[in-house]
Structure formats: C-alpha cells, structure tokens
Amino acid sequence: MGELLKVDKIKTQFQTEKGPVTSVDEVSFDLKEGETICLVGESGCGKSVTSLSIMHLLDRNGSVTEGSILFEGKDLAKATEADMRKIRGNNISMIFQEPMTSLNPVLTIGDQLTEGIRLHMKYSKTEARKYAIDMLKKVGIPRAEGIIEEYPHKLSGGMRQRVMIAMALSCRPKLLIADEPTTALDVTIQAQILNLMKKLREESNTAIILITHDLGVVAEMADKVAVMYAGQVVEETDVYTLFDNPKHPYTLGLMKSIPHITNPDDMRLDSIPGSVPSVHNMPKGCRFYDRCPHAMKRCLEEKPLLKPIEDKQSHSIRCFLYEKEEQDYENKKLAEKEVSS
C-alpha cells in the first residue's frame, strides 16, 4: 500500500475581530491507500476543521498557516483554488453530518448527482444519468430510477445520507472524508450506513478519514485512530493498540467516562472534571493540564510534543508521563540507524 496522504504539523487559524484564533495546531497523521483513520474527540477539538483544511472548505476567514498536506505527493496547503476544484469531488470527496441540510432542497437528486459526474468524468447527460442510477442502486436505494427525479425532502435522513455517499463515491475518489456521517441518524439506520461504508470500502479500496466522537464507531470502522483534544492530536496509533493499551490521560478518561451497553451493571462512570479550554484562552503548556489527574508542575509551563514509543504497532503520545519511553524509543532508533550505516 502506498502512502496517500501525509498531514504534517498543520496549523489552521481563523481571523476574528479579536485577532487570529488557532483552532488546529500541529496536527499530523498519515494515511495509506485503502486505510481508514478515525479522528476522534469532543466538539471543538479541531477534528472537523482539520478535514475542512484538507479540502480548502474553511470559511473565508480561515486558512492553513503552517505545515503541509501532501496528497499523492502534492502539497494541498499550497494548492490554488483552481487546483482544488479539480481535486474536490474527484480525488477527495466528503460527506457531512447533517444529511437533512447537506442536499440542495430545490434541485432533484439526479441533478445533484450528475453534475459532479459530468464535471469530473466528462460523461454525457444520458451516460451520467445511467451511471447515477447505478450508483444509487449500489448504495442500496430502492426504486433508483424513480428516486433520481425526486427532491431531497421526499427522502428520509438515512436515504439522504445514502445519496450523499453515492455522490461522494461516484468519481471513484482515492480519499473519502466522512464528518460524523451517522451522528444525526437513528441507531438502526447508523448500523445500515456503517455496514454500507464497510462494503463500499472493500470494493473500491478508498481511504477514509472518519470523524466521530463515538468510540463505538471508531472500534467498528478504524484501522488507525488519532485522538484529538483542543486542536491537537494527543495520541495516535492503530485501533487495536488504542483500545487494548490506551496511554494518554485524556484517552483513558474518555474511555472510562462513556456509558456503554457492554459496561458491567454496577460500574460507576469516571468523569473527566472541568471542560475543554476555549480557543481564545489556550493554556501555555499541556492543554489537558487542568483536567488531568496526573498533571505535574512542568505540564503547566512546557508544551509536550507528539512522540512515538515502543509498542506492537506505531504509537505516539503527547504527554510527559511517557517521556522515558519516548526517549528509549528514540535512542533505540538512533542505535539501529548507526548499526545499519
């Protein structure tokens, strides 16, 4: 599997009346072809902004000010709007949280499906329509020939999300960004959509960035996971390592604080005290400092970096608690390098 996307220490800022606000800071992760990464975290942690940064879909006052986003070797952080237009919907496509508002209410499903197909695949009107009907059938829409003439308000939320998926996958993108695609749906519908995404992923070998706050969805879908907190990645590893051997105090806290139906009956939830710091008032040191049970004096002053440790799979943590492991790993790598040279 070749490397498809490498996001390297990007910083996304918004210009506001009170001055620039940094909502994503030093976010890095990479993704191979056909791989699924989950960005997980609470609202305001910067997971959506990260994905919008990749697509250049931020509001007018937001932009990536530092770092690079290498997609198939090309730096999207420096791409022009014209370049991005060729990439969007074609090489990278996106589905959103609210299926009820993500489709244009005054255009037919067919209209909205075929315009991307005609634009990127240069199909004729009739070819595009035929292809669109095939896509609708592929995502499990009954009566596709009829539905294509309908307006979005005739469809349920689950059906609309299927249409969004059909639209996103129609130009066979290398990368699909799904921003909380099932959060607004009922659980039985969520299960349908997740199954559909799994099936289509196998068929098309599309890489997926799945943004979610639900650790259950992460466990179902992810190959690897980046846990985000207050605009930073605090832990990144493969999905099995994350659930078997979580390290960062925030990840641990998150896992223990979620009530789940598989929890034992009398287990009391551990809650993380306090709340997420505001973007206007980010702590200087570790951003989890005031909610962390293991906070040390240096966490207040010094900024921890995301560094790898020794584990079964690659595993990086942004926390001073693991400084020794991180140092050991670095020494080991250096030693290996020396041996090989």
Partner: protein, 331 residues
C-alpha cells in the same frame, strides 16, 4: 432498586394516547392523525428510574411531556399520587407542578437569557409563594452547591456558562421545589462525551440523596442502561417491551429490542466481526403506521398474523408486545 409488589405506584399511565391532527386546505379539514403516542400504559414506583428508549418518532418525548401535562392527552389517564392530571383544575395542577419537574435536552434555550441565574432559580419558589426573597436566596445557594456549582455564579447570566454547567443549572431549577418525580428529556444528548458522565453521575447521586424518582428519556442506550432500573422500549408510539434493565439487556424478548441493542457499535475492535442483525428500511411515518404490529414491516420474524393483529403487552414483570417473543422463536 427492587420493586416490591406491595408498594403503590407514584405515577400510573393508563392507555395514554396523543394524536396530532393533520390539517389540510383553507378550512383546515382534519384529514388524519399523527399518532405520536398510541395506547401506552406503565407504572412508575417511588425511587426508581424508568428509561424510555426508542428511535426518533417513537413517542418517548411526547410521553414524557404528557406526564407533566405539557401536552394534553387525546385519551387515557396519567395518575400521579392518585390524581388524574387531565381531570384536576389548573389550580390543583399548579400545586402538583412543584412535585413534578422536567429537565430538557437543550438547557440553554430553556433558560431566559436576560435573567441572572440566582433569579431564575428563585423564581419558582417565589411564584408558588413558598418562600420569601431571603429564604429563596438561601435555598438557591444550597441547591447550587448540591449540583456542584459555586454560589458566586448566582449573579451570572446563562450565556456565561458551558453546556455542562447549564445542564447543572437546569437540574438545579428542577430541584428548587423538592419534586418527587423528574422527567429527564434527553438531558445529556447535547453535551460533550466527557461532560455526559459528569451529569449522569450527578443525577445518580441526587437520586440517592433526595429520594427522587426519574423518567429518563434518551436515544443513547448506554446512558439509559447506566441510570435506569427499568426500561421501556418504544416504537412508533407504542410500548414494545418493558422490563428491568438487566432483563432487557440479557434476555430481550422483542425482536425490536434485540435489533436495537445489536445496532449499537461496541467500543471494542476485537468484536467488530461479530454477527449482527441489521434491519433494513426506515421507520415508517407515525402519520401512517403499519396495520397490525407496527414493527412488522422491518421485523425479520414477521408472520401473517403480525400484519393483521396488534399484539397486546403481556407478561408479568417483564412485559412484551409481540406475537412471537424471541424465546419462543429461539428455543
């Protein structure tokens, strides 16, 4: 909390129905009804928490709102401490309102943005003429402490608080009048995951301390399981299954319950390849519910009788509305 058969229920819901007319045309002719709640009955005992779960359109919120008479039922009874809420006078209802409170999903939109927290909280006490200004003030301090907020917050306005803090204020307001029963309508759904646990734990602690009874409405089964003693599973305005939390999770009898439990993604990647029954199709519209058992259109075990006859809620302790409950199918 174990229920003893001798105990008298705090609240009884008997054949509750809430239909909303669908109007059409210039003269607003009624052409049909949205059956939001259709023939729902259950009892709630003092000190327990009953969870109402189901997908959107199942009528759980309408049921909850009917319990505190925020909705007038189309038919049926809601009996609280022996009094039928639909029959009593407004004056009596006002008195009862001190014992029946509700907490909403979005605490922000249910708090008047132009009032200070202290005034918001004191308001019901003064409105019900239960306390003087200074007594109310003392009470506000006390309640704020109980819900884990500093009494310095009294002079702040709602917009100065985070979501979790606002929900604490919502809870504080419900507690001001020493209610017996609190309807919690999706109290944690709008909150961030790390905050949800704080609020759930607070609700649990308050229940123990103040001997409260809860009706907990949520679509997240995890939270419902965590807090409820008994669970009522609803679908399209009807009760599908009602049993203790343990029974519901360990021996679900209704196919819908089984499917609902199954649909939740499990936060354990080693279990991702488990066998899952995925139910096809959407929830039908409550304006046009299927005949017979409302779930038959999506039920994998549906037989002819399910299309014809509405199953009645049967069983002792663990009740289920199904012609072919799972145990009889599986075993």
């Amino acid at each position: 909390m174990p229920l003893s058969e001798q105990e008298k229920p705090l609240l009884q819901v008997k054949n509750l129905k809430k239909y909303y007319p669908i109007k059409k045309g210039v003269i607003s002719r009624t052409v049909g009804y949205v059956k939001a709640v259709d023939d729902v009955s259950f009892d709630i005992y003092p000190g327990e928490t009953v969870g109402l779960v189901g997908e959107s359109g199942c009528g759980k919120s309408t049921t909850g709102r009917s319990l505190v008479r925020l909705e007038d039922p189309t038919a049926g009874q809601v009996i609280f401490q022996g009094k039928d809420l639909a029959k009593i006078s407004n004056k009596e209802m006002r008195k009862l309102r001190t014992e029946l409170q509700i907490i909403f999903q979005d605490p922000y939109s249910s708090l008047n943005p132009r009032k200070r927290i202290g005034d918001l909280l004191a308001e019901p006490l003064i409105a019900h003429k239960l306390a003087t200004r200074s007594e109310a003030d003392k009470k506000v301090n006390e309640i704020l402490e109980i819900v884990g907020l500093s009494k310095q917050y009294k002079n702040r306005y709602p917009h100065e608080f985070s979501g979790g803090q606002r929900q604490r204020i919502g809870i504080a307001r419900a507690l001001m009048l020493h209610p017996k029963l609190i309807i919690c309508d999706e109290p944690v759904s709008a909150l961030d995951v790390s905050i949800q646990a704080q609020v759930l734990n607070l609700l649990k602690d308050l229940q123990k301390e103040l001997k409260l009874t809860y009706v907990f409405i949520a679509h997240g089964l995890g939270a419902v399981k965590y807090i409820s003693d008994r669970i009522c599973v609803m679908y399209l305005g009807r009760v599908m299954e009602f049993a203790t939390t343990k029974e519901i999770f360990e021996h679900p009898l209704h196919p819908y319950t089984e499917i609902l439990l199954n649909a939740y993604p499990i936060p354990n990647p080693h279990m991702r390849d488990r066998k899952q029954i995925v139910v096809e199709g959407d929830v039908p519209s409550p304006a046009n519910p299927p005949k017979g058992c409302v779930f038959h259109t999506r039920c994998p075990f549906a037989k002819d009788i399910c299309k014809e006859k509405i199953p009645t809620l049967t069983g002792k302790g663990h009740t289920v509305a199904c012609h072919f409950p799972l145990e009889s199918v599986n075993v």
